[in-house]
């Protein structure tokens, strides 16, 4: 007879000391490891900032302001891309969609349309492009990687088609500016939007029926279908959300800068996916958390910021992020495998 230990032996065995077990259960949480890394990096930066306030200006208000202004664009892209990844699909076109919808919005405003109408129009265009990616993926049963790779090139070209390779000015008026790039009690409005959207996504994904179906669809599509979840509709909704969030990131970036550069979105889709992977999302879907995405984005920018403050050359940044991605996915793959083996 097989020993009974495999029934009672949990991940945290009874022989481990409490501290080790606590660490173990933290690391088993979807965002546990990234939380640990993030808190460690933050503590290190804060201590260093306090000890060397002149050489390492991490805690200076200027630095905090720069951090808060730069996080939201990638953050919003990553929220949408992450939700879609949990549903089991990719969207490589979000960087191009981000530029395209921003150009559309800026051109509308330039031709006299009110910004408060142009912005929702941009969001709708983004959602529609996401939806069409989803329809192509599901209708022809293609990998979304391929479909959205096509989308990446198509919408990048479309920007040049409708606008040419010149920048578009964006002057939406003071109310719109205040709403998306103003400052509320010292905190950047775009950053408040990002935090608010993160909370909304958390509620949607972890506390709402829709989120339950998203995890089920990404985790095991055939099982979810057999139970009666409409997985095609869930995937389409996730694609549309990813597109709309790309458009929203476009609104934030355009309002901050006051203009759109036709080439500005290149590479952002990969950064967004990188943030998700660092945050503990599985590339195969069904695994991840909004806290992880949030911390993944924050970690990328914290490290960028530290390297800038240390006046390190830019290639260090790329190498550092690259290492982080690979280490994070090795770690997550280990968790996945252990989950499957148990």
């Amino acid at each position: 007879m097989r020993p009974v230990t495999d029934m009672t032996h949990d991940r945290a065995g009874p022989h481990q000391r409490p501290a080790a077990r606590w660490l173990h259960s933290l690391l088993s949480m979807p965002a546990g490891a990234i939380l640990l890394v993030f808190v460690t990096v933050q503590l290190f930066c804060i201590v260093a900032g306090l000890i060397f306030p002149d050489d390492f200006r991490y805690l200076s208000p200027q630095n905090m302001g720069i951090l808060m202004r730069s996080v939201p664009v990638l953050g919003c892209l990553a929220l949408g891309a992450g939700l879609l990844m949990i549903a089991g699909e990719f969207d490589l076109s979000i960087g191009s969609v981000y530029t395209f919808t921003a150009v559309v919005m800026a051109m509308l405003v330039g031709s006299g349309v009110d910004a408060f109408l142009a912005a929702p129009a941009g969001l709708l265009v983004g959602a529609a492009i996401g939806l069409s990616n989803g329809i192509l993926t599901l209708r022809f049963n293609l990998p979304s990687f391929i479909v959205t790779l096509g989308g990446l090139l198509f919408w990048r070209g479309a920007v040049l088609l409708i606008n040419g390779a010149v920048q578009v000015r964006f002057d939406p008026g003071p109310a719109f500016d205040a709403l998306f790039s103003g400052t509320v009690i010292g905190i950047n409005a775009a950053f408040i939007w990002f935090v608010g959207l993160s909370l909304a996504f958390w509620a949607l994904l972890h506390r709402h029926r829709f989120g339950n179906h998203v995890f089920a669809t990404g985790g095991d599509r055939s099982a979810a279908t057999a139970i009666g979840v409409n997985t095609a509709r869930i995937k389409l909704a996730a694609f549309a959300i990813a597109g709309a969030m790309a458009a929203f990131a476009g609104i934030l970036a355009t309002t901050r800068v006051g203009s759109v550069q036709p080439g500005q979105g290149a590479g952002l889709e990969l950064q967004a996916i990188a943030a998700c992977v660092i945050g503990g999302l599985s590339l195969r879907g069904g695994r991840g958390s909004i806290l992880g995405i949030f911390l993944g984005v924050m970690l990328i920018f914290t490290i960028t910021d530290v390297l800038l403050l240390l006046r390190a050359p830019g290639f260090y940044l790329d190498m550092f992020i690259a290492t982080l991605i690979v280490v994070a996915s090795i770690f997550n793959h280990g968790l996945d495998r252990r989950g499957a083996a148990a």
Partner: protein, 242 residues
């Protein structure tokens, strides 16, 4: 009157004839063994009853009333729960979220009532389904063994007040002890008034729990007999020789 009945069902897939004039019944509080060799049409029958396939001609009835299932949800609403060998559970979700998947308890805005869902899941796992090693409804289903997973699927059927369990080769992936627990579960549910259709080619498992046997071969019924009137030798003969 029978609980579930198939009436003269034919099913073709293009030129392929899967079922020919198949009729049988499942009574109240009865465990029926649906036996047959590979390719006899057992899986097609299961898919018909659970609403995944539709008959080319003939029909199903529940309580004597004709029902046409167009999808799995229809059969679930009629009180039929199908438990597959690769049980339809999502590994990356917790036990309680799996039990309520697709039928979540929510408030008006669709937000989950996690507390009630956990309590009910724990209660069902404690009272209705006895499988050792499940101590928390927050455990991920991916961390459970094959038998524990089927226990969760059965718990789902019990909670949603199913009247017929369709068990499609449920024991093929289970250890000996888990098989024993599952078969006992089927008998316990029978006492509570839940009928079962046990689809298997393991005659010994079927003989242990079934009240009646329906043997299929080449897409139709070749033998239909109560347990009291047959022996395992006779059943084997019909499965092998027809």
């Amino acid at each position: 009157m029978s609980l579930l009945a198939l009436h003269n069902i034919n099913k073709t897939f293009g030129p392929l004839r899967a079922l020919t004039d198949l009729s049988f019944e499942v009574g109240h509080s009865e465990v029926v063994g649906l036996l047959g060799d590979n390719g006899a049409g057992k899986s097609t029958t299961v898919n018909l009853i659970s609403g995944i396939h539709q008959p080319s001609s003939g029909h199903l009835s529940i309580d004597g009333e004709r029902r046409d299932f167009t999808c799995r949800r229809d059969s679930a609403e009629a009180g039929i729960e199908t438990i597959y060998q690769n049980t339809a559970l999502v590994d990356c979700l917790s036990i309680s979220r799996n039990i309520f998947l697709g039928r979540e308890l929510t408030d008006r805005f669709g937000f989950l009532d996690l507390k009630t869902m956990r309590e009910i899941a724990m209660q069902v796992l404690d009272s209705a389904v006895h499988i050792s090693g499940i101590d928390s409804p927050d455990k991920l289903v991916g961390d459970l063994s094959g038998g524990q997973k089927q226990a969760v699927a059965i718990a789902r059927a019990v909670f949603f007040k199913r009247r017929v369990l369709l068990l499609d080769e449920p024991t093929s992936a289970l250890s000996v002890r888990e098989t024993e627990a599952l078969l006992n579960q089927v008998l316990r549910l029978k006492q509570e008034g839940v009928s079962s259709v046990l689809v298997t080619h393991n005659l010994y498992h079927a003989y242990q729990v079934c009240d009646r046997f329906v043997i299929m071969s080449h897409g139709t019924k070749v033998f239909d007999v109560a347990k009291a009137e047959t022996t395992i030798g006779e059943l084997t003969q019909h499965v092998v020789l027809t």
